[in-house]
Amino acid sequence: MSAVRGKVPQWKVDAVEEIKRLFREYPVVGIAGFRGVPSSQFQSVRRDLRDEVAIRVVKNTLLKLALESLGGDYKKLEDYIEDQVAVVASKLNPFKLFKKLENTKTPSPLKPNQVSPVDVVVEAGPTNFPPGPILGEIQAAGIPAAIEKGKIVVKNTVTVVRAGEVVKPEVARALNLLEVKPIKIGLDTKALMENGIVFTPADLAIDEAQVFEDFIEAARKALNLAVNSAYVTEETAEILIQKAFLDAKNLAINAAVFEKEVMPDILAKAYSEMLAVANLLSDEALDEDLKE
């Protein structure tokens, strides 16, 4: 047990101890940001994941204290403490945990005065609004809107905010009206740790489609290698037989080796050649049977 000075309030001591307990109890722990997550969404995420992921909101200073106190590899996580963070702890492997946390993200509108992480584009097209004061509010955001056929219409596609720019309140309001939800809000994984190994989102994002393609490529390479080196296995036996047969058939036909099995092919080939030449000739040069 760590020594605690008498002046520290008991709730802080308890909070630090709780974090330390979680970190010791679960094999996979980590830090996730939750800035901008409405408390209702946060509560439902916590509820939905309750059986698989322990989530605790903690003050950054206390989390730092806990990590210091735990020491060792845990101190590596200090680099990821920023903004508003929560501690996550789970028995799921880091990849599954990451996926669960990513799945908590839902499309959301931008808030006034926040820095937009993305370019926000408003597409040209009709809105659901009838003519009215809303037109002014949309125009105030720099969106070229007008009335057409009894509806407010965005006339040109425009980029209203660029990544890294502050979202002006009037722009946030217009985007809200148009139901543009350009960002995903939820638990934002900063880092996860298992057995002292720190995984960042770059390590954790798995493209399953790519993995599937990799497996196809690997399997294809194996098949190619086996067949091209004539390594006979149950899987390649049939292919190799067919290859050998086709080799023989090609050779027999191309070299006009008169084997009964390929005679029809050889005849058809000769006939095709005759037709190919006949097609280049004028009518007078052709027999009656080729003219029709």
């Binding site: 008169f258 005679m263 092919d265 050889i266 005849l267 058809a268 000769a270 006939y271 050649e273």
Partner: protein, 70 residues
């Protein structure tokens, strides 16, 4: 393919494809005839329905024709 052309020529002319006939045609074309190949040809053609084999090549024509015409 000379030997095959000779056989098909005889067939088209309604003649029997015998070793003798094939040889005669080949020689008329100035070809030095290999007896073994003539024998092999005639033997391999025994029981083969030339009309049918040939019609397969012709058959493919209309269907395939459309695409490669381009």
């Amino acid at each position: 393919m000379e030997y095959v052309y000779a056989a098909l020529l005889l067939h088209a002319a309604g003649k029997e494809i015998t070793e003798e006939n094939v040889k005669a045609v080949l020689e008329a074309a100035g070809i030095e005839v290999n007896e073994a190949r003539v024998k092999a040809l005639v033997a391999a053609l025994e029981g083969v329905d030339i009309e049918e084999a040939v019609s397969k090549a012709a058959f493919a024509a209309p269907a395939v024709a459309a695409a490669p015409a381009a």
